[in-house]
């Protein structure tokens, strides 16, 4: 049993090491500045600029957080501070189900609804033409996928704040909303930040749903109505081809390594904060 446990502990390092060794040719042969900051992607000519993919991932994630955060925070505050336990009972399965729906289903839904909505209704107001497979579509689908995550973490963070603190604020004459704003939200700020960081790392790694609605064009998107090509989609789309060229394989494993490192750091950071938050009020 101890052996199994230690084996599981080492998995994290093994994944990191395997990806690193496979991606090593990129570090050895390429100018890392060029890899990160140019957008030319011609694997069969030895050109590997990741800028388009990094920029796409950042853009899609930014939009997702921008949409998801207000909705999730407001809902979370409502559920933990205002709602009756009956409403909570209705709402918990909804959040569960939203987080349980597989990415590929979100993708199907996105191509059936969000993509046509953008190309027919939203984009014509801003640009001449958009297929709908766009940064915005990816952002919207991702926003829905990270919403249950943010709600459930912030709910736990709010629940960790003792009732006494709220009661003290009420007894000083503060209204419920003032208490939420000045006491609960302020006290739970580290936890909320941790929730957002976890949501960002989830969004960075999400593959299939985003891939299905983003268009996957290897060109820097000029607006949110243009197609884009996030990092995970790059890996998923090219797994068949990559075996033909060792350099190509190295480049794709480099993107997997990049995702892995960023996500491990983000996860570790927010888990440390969340652990501290839940411990602080436990006597």
């Amino acid at each position: 049993m101890l052996g199994l446990t230690i084996l599981c502990l080492t998995i994290l390092f093994v994944i990191g090491l395997v990806l690193l060794s496979k991606a090593f040719p990129v570090f050895r042969d390429k100018d890392l500045f060029k890899v990160f900051f140019t957008s030319g992607w011609r694997p069969f000519k030895g050109e590997y600029g990741f800028l388009t993919f990094i920029f796409s991932t950042l853009n899609v994630t930014f939009i997702a957080i921008l949409i998801a955060l207000p909705f999730s925070l407001l809902t979370s505050i409502y559920l933990s501070e205002y709602s009756t336990s009956r409403i909570k009972k209705i709402f918990n399965p909804i959040i569960d189900l939203l987080s349980g729906i597989p990415p590929v289903i979100y993708g199907v839904w996105g191509t059936l609804t969000v993509v046509p909505l953008i190309s027919e209704k939203i984009a014509p107001h801003f640009v001449d033409f958009s297929t709908g497979y766009s940064v915005l579509a990816g952002g919207i689908v991702l926003a829905i996928m990270i919403t249950p995550l943010i709600i459930s973490i912030t709910n736990e963070v709010f629940a960790a704040i003792p009732k006494d603190i709220r009661e003290a604020s009420w007894s000083l004459g503060a209204t419920k909303w003032e208490t939420v704003k000045k006491v609960v939200l302020r006290k739970s700020l580290p936890g909320i930040i941790a929730a957002v960081v976890l949501a960002i790392s989830r969004a960075f790694g999400e593959t299939i749903a985003v891939l299905m609605v983003c268009g996957n064009v290897t060109e820097l998107p000029a607006s949110i109505f243009d197609s884009c090509y996030p990092l995970p989609a790059l890996i998923a789309n090219n797994y068949g081809e990559m075996m033909s060229l060792p350099e190509y394989e190295a480049a794709l494993m480099f993107s997997a390594l990049l995702l892995f490192i960023i996500i491990v750091i983000f996860n570790a950071g927010s888990r440390l904060i969340l652990n501290r938050v839940s411990k602080r009020y436990q006597q």
Partner: protein, 279 residues
């Protein structure tokens, strides 16, 4: 002024809760409306003929069977790994020991690693071992994905079982193995929930099986052969230009959604305290 602000925000809160609720209903509605007309008996009882991407005839039995095999294998392997780990950090050493918290912390991180990374890693392991895209490859990758989920949710229940439970039988002369059996019986609902969560996550994930399990038109029972899976049946067939093929994707999407709904409700039934979205 104070009252007004409170009222505005309360309205906003209720609106956003309703928006989230209606988005879920909208997703389910679209999947059902698009999938239901295609969900015929042939669809669930036949394998595609003439190639899954171009052939107009046949159904998705290959993917249904493939997914069931895959998830059965992965859950079996992951349970055999997760249960001992969860028992070890809760009952054989102190729940609050430094080692236990390090293990918990690292499973928290493993839980956050995206499935595409597990897929890529699994693929590399397969190349190293010389395995082709196959059911076995898929099982390895999906197991990696669901082990953290299982350890975490078994741990969540095990943490509340007092250590006395294990010390009492030990002091009466029971062996360690017999004692652990008592504990396992105690946390059985937690294990059931863990398995359900793992099935739900593993059966729907496309990115892990994309590299590892491959895809096939037929039903293969051998672990060394590629296996079709429901998420990939959706993903591949949706991009086909032929309407009949796309309909297979929509039917697969509906079946997968029904599976997830059933799992979600049974999880609720088995584990009242545990939540899937608990992270």
């Amino acid at each position: 002024m104070r009252k007004l602000e409170e009222r505005i925000f309360k309205v906003l809160m209720i609106i956003s809760s309703l928006v989230i609720m209606s988005v879920l209903l909208y997703i389910l509605w679209i999947i059902i409306r698009r999938g239901l007309p295609s969900l015929t008996w042939d669809m669930v009882s036949k394998v595609p003929s003439g190639g899954f991407y171009l052939g107009k005839e046949g159904g998705i039995l290959n993917a249904i069977v493939g997914s069931l095999y895959l998830i059965f294998g992965s859950v079996l392997i992951s349970t055999l790994i997760s249960l001992p780990v969860a028992l070890y950090i809760n009952f054989l050493i102190s729940k609050k020991s430094r080692f236990s918290s390090i293990v918990r912390f690292s499973f928290d991180i493993l839980f956050g690693i995206p499935s595409i990374v597990y897929g890529a890693f699994g693929f590399m392991v397969m190349i190293y071992l010389g395995i082709q895209a196959s059911l076995l490859g898929g099982i390895i990758a999906v197991s990696l994905l669901i082990i953290p989920i299982m350890v975490r949710s078994i741990d969540e229940v095990a943490v509340y079982v007092p250590k006395d439970l294990i010390e009492a039988p030990l002091s009466l002369g029971a062996t360690k193995f017999e004692t652990l059996k008592v504990v396992v019986r105690q946390i059985l609902p937690g294990i059931t929930t863990a398995i359900l969560l793992a099935v739900g996550r593993g059966i729907g994930d496309a990115a892990t099986v994309l590299f590892t399990a491959g895809y096939t038109d037929s039903i293969n029972l051998s672990p060394a052969q590629p296996a079709a899976t429901l998420p990939l049946a959706i993903f591949f067939q949706l991009s086909s230009p032929i309407e009949e093929v796309q309909n297979r994707a929509y039917a697969a999407a509906l079946i997968l959604t029904i599976i997830i709904l059933v799992i979600s409700f049974s999880t609720r039934y088995f584990g009242n305290k545990l939540s899937k979205s608990k992270v």
